[in-house]
């Protein structure tokens, strides 16, 4: 039996269908990402699981029991909100301890667990600070600690990294994955960032217009996209000779599709090319191996393996 099961979950806002018959299962300990552009219904789905939005139809079952019949305060889920939603008038320790307080955990035990969890997220020394004294990354970790300390059955993450700058986001992604592996909590992440979804999740649910277009491991969804939308959303694609080809699967050869280099952009560990061909503009990505690469204006030939 699946740990969490969404069964034909639907939500209308007036005539607008936000979530349309969404069905999928989550196994215990799994890390699942709900991925899609804004407006695809992923946040609404998360809010329905959390209990802040009522579904128009369908069911949600947690360990076989109907989750919708349980009030949000009693669902025992850990949530990290996009804005972190830390209690500004409480210290870091008080913030993290709040859920334990609500559970009736004794003070000594609370202090112990709070200390443990803050150490886990690397904020052991910050117990007495207030949220406004913390950086964005630190606030995010407090929010995570607050959600984890209550040992939730499921951890819900609502675009938790979107407010961080690029470098910090990368670091946090790695840390988040490690923490999840350590603690083993079943996790559902909502994000619009395909790189983030693919980096963190065991399985990804690619959503569009309220429906799941593909559900599967990131590698599979990337290499064998089920629909054009999925192909375009996860990474770049080209349409050449009627076939869909990923930019990194194209290389410069001595014969093949003829073209001229229009733009060449260096991006550190790879080169990004825009090649003008008879078939239109083709995007090519080549690994930076230190070798000399065709310059702008050069004439080239493109070859690739069929998907």
């Amino acid at each position: 039996m699946a740990f969490l099961a969404l069964d034909n979950l639907t939500k209308h806002f007036g005539s607008h269908v936000a979530v349309d018959g969404l069905t999928f299962m989550v196994e215990k300990g799994e890390f699942v990402a709900l991925l899609g552009p804004s407006g695809c219904g992923k946040t609404t789905t998360l809010q329905m699981i959390a209990g802040f939005v009522e579904p128009s139809g369908g069911a949600i079952r947690l360990e076989g029991r109907d989750l919708l019949a349980i009030k949000p305060a009693k669902r025992g889920l850990g949530i990290v909100f996009q804005s972190y939603a830390l209690f500004p008038h409480m210290t870091v320790a008080e913030n993290v301890a709040f859920g334990l307080e609500m559970q009736g955990v004794a003070a000594a035990e609370r202090t112990r667990r709070v200390g443990e969890t803050l150490a886990l997220v690397g904020l052991g020394a910050f117990t007495g600070r207030f949220p406004r004294q913390l950086s964005g990354g630190q606030q995010q970790r407090v929010a995570l600690a607050r959600a984890l300390v209550i040992r939730p059955r499921i951890l819900l993450l609502d675009e938790p990294l979107s407010n961080l700058d690029a470098k910090l986001r990368e670091e946090m992604q790695i840390e988040l994955r490690q923490i999840q592996r350590t603690v083993g909590t079943t996790t559902i992440l909502v994000t619009h960032d395909q790189a983030e979804a693919m980096a963190l999740s065991d399985r990804v649910v690619v959503m569009n217009h309220g429906r799941a277009e593909q559900i599967g491991p990131p590698h599979e969804a990337y290499e064998r996209p089920a629909t054009p939308f999925v192909a375009n959303f996860l990474g770049r694609t080209n349409l050449v000779n009627g076939a869909t080809v990923r930019p990194e699967k194209i290389w410069f050869a001595t014969s093949g599709l003829a073209g001229k280099v229009r733009t060449r952009i260096f991006q550190g560990n790879h080169w990004l090319y825009q090649i003008e061909t008879a078939d239109g503009l083709v995007t090519v990505i080549r690994q930076n191996t230190g070798e000399a690469m065709p310059a702008e204006g050069a004439a080239v030939h493109l070859a690739w393996a069929a998907i």
Binding site: P72, A73, R75, L77, S83
Partner: protein, 268 residues
């Protein structure tokens, strides 16, 4: 060094003089040693301040204004909190109209309100009573209380309450531990602004106050109508001193700009 040129600074200086002149003059004259209106040139005297004690009607009017202000502001805030929460959080039919209704006393001339209340209270047998004054003042100060409470409620991130709920808090706990502490600054500043407006109100109060329930501004006004002598200047000086002290305290605590404009000088 500001970016203002000398011309601007001259203008500014004259402007400030204009704004402070009447206030300073009143305080000045209050210290006159003479028995009539004059400026203390070589001697200063507190005689007119001591004289206030011989006019118990001023003292009792002061206390009445204080109580009136405190009570009506507190009630106004109490009424405005649930209304502010409703307006800030829900999209319901009549929301704009209701907000306009609650803000309407700002647009109704106080003389009209004074007349309306005079008629209304007389019919109800509340004419000239303290209760009547309280009710009338609640209406007048509610827009100020509501404006600040609303700003606080709007500024409250809903997801903070959701976070508390998700961690197991009941509705009562959320209200008590999360919502109220976070809107409290708005409540207190709303009360403060409401109090100041009630304490200073004269136009409407002059219609509905009976000789026995007169407030301080009305007592001062009626006194001035008959004659202007140093006594009323010393009373005014006291009022000014108290107000300035309260002003500075408020500015230190919240920032005058946030109180009057709704946002503080550094944009918080």
């Amino acid at each position: 060094m500001s970016r203002n040129g000398p011309l601007a600074l001259v203008f500014h200086t004259l402007f400030v003089i204009f704004m402070l002149a009447p206030i300073l003059v009143v305080c000045f004259v209050a210290f006159t040693p003479e028995g009539y209106l004059s400026f203390p040139t070589d001697r200063w005297s507190l005689r007119w301040f001591y004289a206030i004690a011989r006019y118990p009607e001023f003292v009792s009017a002061f206390w009445r204004s204080l109580w009136l202000g405190a009570i009506s502001s507190a009630v106004a805030v109490a009424f405005s909190v649930p209304a502010a929460l409703a307006i800030a959080r829900y999209r319901f039919r009549g929301r704009e109209a209701m907000t306009a209704l609650f803000m309407s006393p700002l647009m109704i001339p106080h003389v009209v309100l004074g007349i309306a209340f005079l008629r209304f209270f007389t019919e109800l047998g509340l004419g000239g009573t303290f209760i009547g004054l309280v009710l009338a003042h609640i209406v007048i100060v509610l827009p100020f209380a509501l404006r600040l409470t609303l700003a606080s409620a709007v500024g409250l991130d809903r997801s903070i309450e959701h976070a508390a709920i998700s961690l197991g808090a009941s509705e009562g706990t959320v209200l008590r531990r999360i919502t109220l502490p976070l809107v409290l600054p708005g409540l207190v500043s709303g009360w403060a602004l409401a109090f100041i407006n009630s304490f200073d109100e004269v136009t409407m109060t002059v219609f509905i106050a009976a000789p026995a329930t007169v407030t301080l501004p009305v007592r001062m006004f009626l006194y001035i109508q008959d004659n202007i002598d140093p006594l009323v200047t010393s009373v005014s000086a006291c009022v000014i001193a108290i107000t300035v002290a309260a002003l500075i305290a408020l500015d230190r605590a919240y920032g005058l700009e946030r109180l009057l404009v709704g946002r503080s000088a550094d944009g918080r």
